[in-house]
Point group: C2
């Protein structure tokens, strides 16, 4: 992928992942065991008697897997440096065996008034499953650099 | 911890973690290797010539570690079920050896109009390092249940 600079970005541009991530049952349980040890992320049988009624991935596992996809989708010149995230939602669960991909749309590009070599790009990021249903949506604020003024 | 129901929650209430999480260098690199393989999360030497100038944890690693603290801090009756997150920010980096703790403040409690047994609680969650500096802030929307109408 060619590197993309602040100068190249404009609202409406779309980046979609070539990459796919398959969410394995073992990975769901391993992530949950370390970070989110609640029964609906750990054990199929116990999960049946919970709110979710089945084993589902932690929302924070979905964000982490989405980060993996972002890096492969959005070729910002200096990498993916997040300032923050707004409106993070998980409209439906991620289930064992789901295959995830990413759709990114640039919604806003702001040059920094203080540091002219930098700016902030707001990107609507939608993580989709194999049935093209959104499992996660968020608006990420990313740091981007001018072609003439790289970070390093 | 006694279980907490929707009925028990009100704006202004504070929950702070007894638990602490130490962020080890190996854990930073392991998480990054799987989900966020960028040089400033993987290698101390290479990190020096990047925007961050040092090895730092992935923001998504910080959210995952924060989830670990949330479970130990907020004793909601049916567990921590997130509807979404707003205003997620990482005001300063998490560095190897940092010790994290969590401060939660209830900012809003809304009963569901559709399902009277449920409601949504908005919680301002601040993840602090050993110097009491915020390394992450967010407003989480969590599902909560009435004492008389549990989920299961």
């Amino acid at each position: 992928m060619d590197k993309v600079y602040l100068d190249d970005l404009a609202p409406g541009q779309v980046f979609t992942s070539q990459a796919r991530v398959v969410v394995e049952t073992d990975a769901i349980k391993r992530f949950a065991g370390e970070f989110d040890p609640q029964p609906w992320h750990l054990n199929e049988t116990v999960a049946r008697s919970t709110f979710f009624k089945e084993l589902v991935a932690s929302g924070w596992h979905t964000t982490a897997l989405t980060m993996q996809l972002i890096i492969q989708t959005l070729p910002l010149s200096e990498g993916i440096i997040g300032r923050g995230v707004d409106e993070l939602r998980w409209p439906r669960p991620v289930r064992p065996g789901d295959t995830l991909r990413l759709h990114c749309e640039i919604i806003d590009v702001q040059e920094s008034k203080v540091r002219p070599s930098q700016g902030t790009v707001r990107v609507r990021m939608t993580t989709l499953n194999q049935d093209d249903q959104p499992v996660q949506t968020m608006i990420a604020q990313l740091l981007a650099f001018r072609r003439s003024g790289e970070a390093t």
